[in-house]
Amino acid sequence: MPKLELVCPAGTPASLHAAVDAGADVVYLGFRDETNARNFPGLNFSRDELRQALDYAHERGTEIYVAINTFPKAGNPGPWHRAVDDAAALGADAVILADIGLADYAARTHPGLRRHLSVQASASNPEAIRFYKEAFGIRRVVLPRVLTVPEIAALNRQVDIETEVFVFGGLCVMAEGRCALSSYATGESPNMNGVCSPASHVRYVDEGDRMVSRLGNFTINAFANDEKAGYPTLCKGRFVTGGKARYLFEEPVSLNAAAMLPELMAAGVTALKIEGRQRGRAYIAQVVAAFRAAVDAAAAGEPVPAADLSAVTEGQRKTTGAYNKTWR
């Protein structure tokens, strides 16, 4: 079995250096605008920074993928087309796309540029994947976080294309690219603006006996004084249904599928993706190094070392998410 490729995030040049130095096979990043799904203040790369990043990475045998994975605004495709043009001109190793129109543009304008399908395109079955492959020459699909490992294995038997799966980091519980919860409360969404539950719409209200986190006009969670107040990501909030308060959509957990690497290899997956372009350099260095060791061990047929990542994940609980059917 070929070794799994390790695809790691970077939101800044410093994080990119950390990821490359820690053993990333690939670093993925975005331009500093609404064309990518981590459009946060102070994050992402200018064209110059991408040029320097490509030099740094390529000298060390690491590739760079550019995520251009939001949906162009009607009447203003320019920023998205330019992002594809510039990624191609600067020599990026691949672009990661979600929008049909943009994939069509990239295929027609830059046939030589390697094209991957973003998780935001939500291609969760062989027919959808075949469509993107045949229509736009997509070479790899990042699978939505809705499939179990047996479903991923079955899918890989039916499609002739590389697949990439998330193994660590923040976990969308909805099918990615098909969620408008954030814009319902704030007006800004992953698809349109590259943000989910944006900080500009977050407020923490200290009520003395409890700290309330709000998103737009809605309470997302409330914490006692001895609890740590988490960020109010909408689908990780506490809500009331049937008279009972609970984390209905998902607890504030993050994904860690390190222990499943051998199964994912056997399922025919090509690449593993680590979430977290918004994370700092220290986090990136630790997580990438841990997964470098895990991937190498899995490839050698050795037990995957149990990496201690609790320091960087703030003691958050871990889940293997949809990879286990019981999650549903």
Partner: protein, 308 residues
């Protein structure tokens, strides 16, 4: 577009209504509702489809006999071989029907023949719109997030008719996980079909008692009911000629008549809004997405109606 008569569609029933209720709903729509088109078929959860399947032929027959255009709606998130098989059967068996695609798999299967792009397909811009039109899309039901500015651009592109979600709780997200089951401490595989108990979805409140969202199995919806009744003029002006009413437990014949009458100038917006309030049990309404703000907001004429 402005000069042609605006059309009304009855969207697919998004909730898990008991099979008899589901059948009787469509019978009544066939006999009494002033709508041009009716969408039939499960879009949310493949586990529900077998309950309605036995009634499907008689429902379609009744609708067609009443002169309605029938469109077969298909599943929104296809994740396994069984769901893929269902979709293929619909696509191959439904050669005489328009079919509404809600997963890219359906877009793929329907390419080259006339079809409808459903609201769960991401059509945000003219590049995607044009591509789908070249593939045979004759009608595109737009994603609920789109603002008037975006809709205007797509309308100007032409090539396919636009349909805009105009009434009902907004479908906002879909997941592999069933939140109805989870709320009842069950899993999706052993769900006992608890979603059947909530005809309009299960209300979800914040910890502070603010009504926020509604759960419909694997789908998450708005608590508020989208109502474009005060925006129909503007929608017509920018080139939208078809409006989708999403079925709820209130009297959809009366709601359809209210939309028809406003479009035809026989009823004013305030009176129609009153009818909607009666039929929804005074639920809050929203139209924020169209006005370029958060979806939950209420803007424009509906926000400025005098309070009785």
């Amino acid at each position: 577009m402005k000069d042609a008569q605006a059309k009304l569609s009855m969207g697919p029933v998004l909730f898990n209504w008991p099979a008899d209720r589901w059948r009787d709903f469509y019978f009544r729509i066939a006999d009494e509702a002033p709508v041009d088109t009716v969408y039939v078929g499960e879009t949310v959860c493949s586990k529900r489809a077998p309950f309605h399947a036995p009634h499907m032929p008689e429902v379609i027959e009744r609708l067609q006999a009443a002169g309605k255009e029938v469109v077969l709606s298909t599943l929104g998130l296809i994740m396994n071989g069984r769901e893929m098989h269902q979709l293929r059967e619909t696509a191959e068996g439904g050669a005489d029907f328009l079919i509404e695609a809600n997963d890219i798999a359906a877009v793929s299967l329907l390419r080259g023949r006339p079809h409808v792009i459903g609201p769960m397909i991401n059509v945000y811009n003219e590049g995607t719109f044009g591509y789908l039109v070249r593939g045979g899309a004759r009608r595109v039901v737009l994603p609920v997030e789109l603002s008037a500015d975006s809709i205007r651009v797509l309308a100007a592109h032409g090539g396919a008719e636009l349909e805009v979600f105009a009434f009902g709780r907004l479908p906002l997200a879909i997941s592999a996980r069933c939140y109805h089951a989870r709320s009842h401490d069950l899993s999706k595989d052993n769900c006992r079909f608890v979603c059947e108990r909530d005809l309009d979805g299960m209300d979800l409140d914040t910890l502070d008692g603010e009504a926020f969202l509604a759960v419909n199995g694997v789908q998450t919806m708005s608590y508020s009911y989208c109502s474009m009744i005060g925006d129909l003029d503007r929608l017509r002006e920018i080139g939208v000629g078809r409006f989708r009413l999403s079925p709820h437990s209130g009297d959809m014949v009366r709601i359809a008549a209210a939309f028809r009458d406003v479009l035809d100038g026989r009823l004013d917006v305030a009176a129609a809004d009153e009818i909607i309030a009666e039929e929804t049990g005074d639920m809050p309404v929203s139209n924020g997405y169209f006005h370029g703000v958060e979806g939950v907001a209420l803007k424009g004429r509906l926000a400025n109606l005098p309070v009785e």
